[in-house]
């Protein structure tokens, strides 16, 4: 399979949009229309089940960003820099996906889709109980698409490119779902794993001596792309770690009033005892 897909990459065809502008345009339209459709369903669903204002705001924000990010691939200007490309990936992985999850749009979507939707979601609901598994899945997807052969494949064919972005959105959506909506201790190792695996990939891109991808401006472009994944990308996982810990605490503590501790001895009592 690897060999076959590898053979699909035709270096001469690297800037696919030059040759098949139509194909490129349609795939980008489709990429943009998908989140737009989800948006529409949400708006209809929100009429039936009212979300809180915060969630509504988050959903609209995420959708706007998603549509813009996906339409952003039209015109092909993204294909000229790995850095811009990486920014697009990180937007999907650490901004749009968690925002979608935090907005908790499931009730609204399911209000429209009915029973079929519930049946479709069920296996994913089940998988989302295991933060470590979704973390591993997401890491595998990220690594898969950043190996040069598949990255260049996505550059060459707009349809592969769409598949790349959809699988990112899907895997990271699932990951953030299992992280942000679950209050278990395993979210911390899952975040650490993600931090380590994206950090490792970023480090490799940063330190590599040779260019990997067909959309490079120069070697600094690749270094910057790697650093964006490594440092700002990692920061989001770090923040998520802090946020999840805080939430965990509020769950597991029956708090006593801290300021009035009855048995706390007075200063004098201790002085005399010494």
């Amino acid at each position: 399979m690897f060999a076959v897909s590898a053979s699909l990459v035709n270096p001469a065809n690297a800037h696919g949009w030059d040759d098949n502008a139509d194909e490129d345009f349609f795939s980008a339209m489709l990429g943009g229309l998908l989140p737009a459709a989800l948006w529409l369903i949400y708006v209809v669903g929100a009429g039936r089940i009212r979300p809180t204002n915060n969630r509504r705001l988050m959903f609209h924000g995420a959708s706007l960003l998603a549509v813009m990010t996906m339409f952003g691939s039209t015109g092909g200007w993204l294909d000229e820099s790995s850095t811009l490309h990486m920014v697009q990936h990180m937007l999907i992985l650490v901004v749009i996906a968690p925002l979608y999850v935090l907005a908790r749009p499931l009730p609204q979507w399911l209000a429209v889709s009915g029973r079929i939707g519930i049946r479709l979601w069920k296996p994913f609901l089940r998988l989302s109980r295991h933060p470590l598994r979704t973390g591993i899945l997401q890491s595998l997807v990220i690594w898969f698409w950043h190996t040069p052969v598949f990255y260049n494949l996505a550059l060459a064919s707009p349809w592969w490119h769409l598949a790349e972005h959809l699988s990112f959105a899907f895997a990271s959506g699932l990951f953030w779902w299992s992280i942000l909506l679950r209050r278990t201790l395993t979210v911390l190792p899952a975040l650490l794993l993600t931090l380590m695996s994206t950090g490792m990939l970023g480090a490799l891109l940063t330190f590599a001596q040779t260019p990997f991808y067909n959309d490079l401006l120069n070697i600094q472009d690749q270094q910057l792309a790697g650093l964006i994944m490594w440092v700002p990308g990692g920061l989001f996982y770090l923040l998520a770690g802090g946020w999840c810990s805080l939430r965990l605490f509020t769950k597991c503590i029956p708090i006593v009033d801290q300021n009035s501790v009855p048995g706390c001895p007075s200063k004098d009592a201790v002085n005399t005892s010494l």
Binding site: F2, A3, A6, P11, T147, P148, V149, F150, N152, L185, L188, P189, L191, L192, L195, M196, G199, M200, A203, L204, T206, F207, A208, Q209, T210, P211, F212, Y213, N214, L216, Q223, L227, V231, G234, L235, L238, G241, G242, S245, L246, F249, C252, I253, P254, I255, V256, Q258, N259, V261, P262, G263, C264, P265, S266, K267, A269, V270, N271, S273, L274
Partner: protein, 838 residues
């Protein structure tokens, strides 16, 4: 009066009964003791002795540098001195002492009778002791390592460091690190699973949070260095190239592996010390700590951040400038959690009614010194400044401010605070104050001036300097200061020695502290508590002042001892609700003998007598396996528990052993990730990377071998599920079946390896693949052996429906072995096809 006598009598009777089960033997048999109090004290005393030795080495260096152009110490010896000073202070003093303190305190703070794997703690101690002795013997023999405490290649490879010097470091330190990792695993599981009834995570004393995060950082942070040491030793001893540019390696890989460990190490040392501060300040401020939850958050985020910042130790090795800019900025992140803690401490002092006893002196000293260390740290994080002062004495001054301020001062505060707990006596106030002021003044005289020496351009690690460069005055001031500091330390030492004889009896809870460790006797009994109290609160000793009495009179849980078992509560990791009774193993020779066999292995590798090494490997394997066999003989003992009590842990599926296994595999996984990182790093960075045109390994036999492994794993998973459902028919036969399939997997694997065209000494490409294959084979082989032993144990009736515990422990190992196989398959067989550069 009569009732008083009665209660005293029952109290003494209980004490005698408990001592029969928990008592420590004397004489030669003291080597068998596994009790955490004894082992913790052994760690601390041994570490303290190494601190004095390390200090002595520093004195020698300061004597040499006091005046220009002295030749008291020749350059070669000087190299050994600074290398050993750093190594001793980092690996033989700082980490073991803090671990020892944690081992001593943690069970007492969480209301447990011992650590969860007592024999492992004893084993860890012996590994530490023997490893340190091997390392120190090199100094006596005059062949000590001389390549700096971070052992950068290529200086430390075979060409530039012939002779056994570097091998002493690599083998000795690895040995000590194994001890550190085992302590990390044990502390993690103990804190999560053995807290007394009702102590939820957020009821734990803050010290436990600090130690929990430190232990997990050891688990994730030490494996990269262990791997680096193994690789460098393989390069030196066998000639497998990893860091040799000509054969496709890269010396910078060593630096990455080293600092991947080295940066977290700074926090591994700082966190427990900060934990001491957070424990002591509220006690002496007479007020609960301000912002408990924010501090916990700060501790956790420090742990996370510290794994992302290693690159800022490498600003001058030629990494891309963009990366320097990013990491310079990212370094500022550390200020946030440290700031949270600092302000919480200040707020606690501000809102409390502080009393200034001796431990508080050391705490104030800590705040002052550590703040300066932090400020120079911010300076060093700025790239241009970093380039300017790189490898000068400024860096030496900075790291001493961080380490001495961030670790030694809080440690001494803690020492003075818990001294009455160790000995039952109070130290002398006058001597203690002399000790503090001499140390404080001496330290600042030495190292504040040393910043200036660095600005004046004096490089580190030079054995002397010419007169007339302007370095004479600051150097002699530093030397004088060093000797003042030594006097201070001597004063502290004198105080400690004298207090055992002349100190006033401390009584119970002399500082009016809030945490459970003060509910034990002072000095503590081996069993810690006669009965284990409910503790759904943060300040048990403040809320229930009579706790010590009620515990000693057996009013709380688990006060039965007539069954003769060493028991403690096993509880839920989050809520602290009781789940089971953990049955702890008792004293044993096995940890001592196993560590002895391993140190024979270490020595024979040093002297390169490989036949001897082989014998030692077999001996230690046999000892460790027989340990695993005998550790569970308690199953033969009476297993009845008092009605109303939860079952013994051997009757459950989710006991401490499973947790220990999972945490061990986390450390193992960190090591494996480091291997994968090395493989990919060399691929994309090494200037002379040579990959053969045809794949060296045939994929089909490997695939078959992998399928066999997966079948075995699934089968094992299946029998655990059946056991859970209460069915154990044909258990033994099934286990044998799994072992046979696993064995077939190993055979196909070995065959695939032997049929390959790998020449491990020729290229880094082949060498790394060989390491991955060895790693896999080790795990597969052990999985087979463990499963076969389980089958035998089923035959003996040790394992089965009523005692399913051990099979559940082996399961994660199979899953992990399977995961490693397929990840290696992806990385070694598939990835090269997909990772062709543009």
């Amino acid at each position: 009066m009569n009732t008083n006598n009665e209660t005293r009598k029952t109290r003494d009777a209980l004490h005698d009964e408990f001592l029969k089960v928990w008592g420590n033997p004397r004489g030669w048999h003291a080597l068998t003791i596994v009790n955490h109090t004894t082992v913790g004290i052994r760690f601390m005393v041994t570490g303290g002795i190494f601190f004095l030795i390390g200090g002595l080495l520093a004195m020698l260096m300061r004597t040499q540098l006091a005046l220009p152009e002295q030749d008291i110490i020749e350059p070669k010896l000087y190299d050994q001195l600074f290398t050993m000073h750093g190594t001793v202070m980092m690996f033989l003093f700082a980490v073991p002492v803090l671990e020892g303190l944690a081992m001593y305190l943690i069970p007492k703070m969480i209301g447990a009778r011992d650590l969860v794997f007592p024999r492992l703690s004893a084993f860890g101690y012996w590994c530490y002791l023997f490893g340190s002795l091997i390392l120190m013997s090199s100094l006596v023999l005059g062949i000590a390592p001389a390549g700096g405490w971070f052992m950068y290649t290529p200086l430390t490879n075979n060409v530039y460091s012939p002779g056994p010097n570097v091998d002493f470091w690599l083998l000795g330190v690895t040995f000590i690190e194994i001890s550190a990792v085992s302590a990390g695993i044990e502390l993690t599981v103990s804190i999560l699973r053995t807290r007394t009834s009702g102590m939820a995570l957020l009821h734990m004393p803050l010290f436990c949070w600090y130690i929990l995060v430190m232990a997990l950082m050891i688990v994730f942070g030490f494996p990269p260095l262990i791997l680096g040491s193994i690789l460098l030793e393989l390069e030196r001893a066998v000639g497998m190239p990893f860091f040799d540019v000509a054969r496709g390696g890269d010396p910078i890989l060593w630096q990455h592996l080293f600092w991947l460990f080295g940066h977290p190490e700074v926090y591994i040392i700082f966190l427990p010390a900060a934990g001491i501060v957070s424990t002591l300040l509220p006690v002496f401020s007479r007020q609960p700590i301000v912002g408990y939850r924010w501090i916990v958050l700060a501790i956790i985020s420090t742990g996370f951040i510290s794994f992302g910042l290693w690159v800022h130790h490498m600003f001058t090795v030629g990494i891309p400038q963009l990366a320097q800019a990013f990491f310079s900025m990212a370094s500022m992140l550390v200020a946030i959690p440290t700031g949270i803690q600092l302000f919480a401490w200040l707020a606690t002092l501000w809102t409390g009614r502080p009393v200034y006893h001796v431990p508080m002196l050391w705490l104030v000293g800590f705040l002052f010194i550590f703040m300066i260390g932090g400020l120079t740290g911010v300076m060093l994080a700025l790239v241009p400044f970093n380039w300017q002062v790189h490898d000068t004495h400024f860096v030496v001054a900075h790291l001493h401010y961080v380490m001495v301020g961030g670790m030694l001062f809080p440690l001494l505060a803690g020492l003075y605070y818990w001294l009455p707990h160790f000995s039952g006596r109070m130290p002398s106030d006058k001597l203690a104050r002399w000790g503090f002021w001499l140390t404080f003044v001496g330290f600042n005289t030495t190292f504040l001036v040393m910043h200036l020496t660095g600005f004046l351009g004096m490089p580190r690690r030079v054995y002397t300097y010419q007169a007339g460069m302007g370095w004479e005055l600051p150097n002699s001031v530093s030397s004088v200061g060093g000797f003042i500091m030594a006097m201070g330390i001597a004063m502290v030492l004198l105080d400690i020695v004298l207090h055992f004889r002349f100190g006033r009896p401390a009584g119970s809870n002399p500082w009016g502290a809030d945490t459970l460790e003060w509910a034990t006797d002072t000095p503590p009994q081996p069993y810690n508590f006669i009965s284990l109290p409910d503790c759904p609160m943060r300040h048990p000793m403040w809320d229930q002042p009579d706790l010590q009495t009620t515990i000693a009179e057996g009013h709380h849980g688990l006060s039965e001892i007539d069954h003769g078992r060493r028991e403690t509560w096993g509880s839920d990791p989050v809520s602290g609700a009781i789940r089971e009774i953990i049955h702890l193993p008792g004293n044993s020779w096995l940890p001592f003998y196993s560590a002895l066999a391993l140190s024979v292995l270490c020595i024979s590798l040093l002297t390169r007598t490989y036949s001897m090494a082989l014998i030692a490997v077999v001996a230690s394997l046999l000892l460790l396996l027989s340990w695993s066999w005998k550790n569970c003989v308690y199953l033969e003992a009476d297993s009845a528990v008092k009605p109303g009590y939860p079952p013994l842990h051997s009757r459950t599926f989710n006991g401490p052993g499973l947790w220990g296994m999972v945490v061990t595999l986390l450390a193992d996984g960190a090591l494996f990730l480091a291997i994968l990182f090395g493989w990919l790093y060399l691929r994309v960075v090494a200037p002379n990377w040579q990959a053969p045109d045809t794949a060296p390994l045939a994929w089909l036999p490997l695939l078959i071998s992998g399928v066999l492994l997966t079948v075995a794993t699934f089968w094992h998973h299946f029998i655990v599920r059946r056991l859970r459902a209460g069915r154990d028919d044909h258990l033994q036969g099934q286990l044998w079946g799994i072992a046979v399939i696993g064995l077939a997997h190993c055979c196909v694997f070995i065959w695939a390896w032997s049929a390959s065209s790998l020449v491990a000494t020729q290229t880094a490409h082949d060498a790394v693949i060989a390491v991955i294959l060895m790693y896999q084979l080790f795990h597969s082989g052990l999985a087979v052996i463990m499963t076969a032993l389980q089958a035998k144990r089923v035959a003996y009736g040790y394992v089965g429906k009523t005692a399913p515990y051990e099979i559940a422990v082996v399961k994660p190992w199979w899953i992990y072995t399977n995961a490693v196989f397929w990840l290696s398959f992806l990385a070694v067989i598939m990835l090269p096809i997909a990772w062709r550069s543009a």
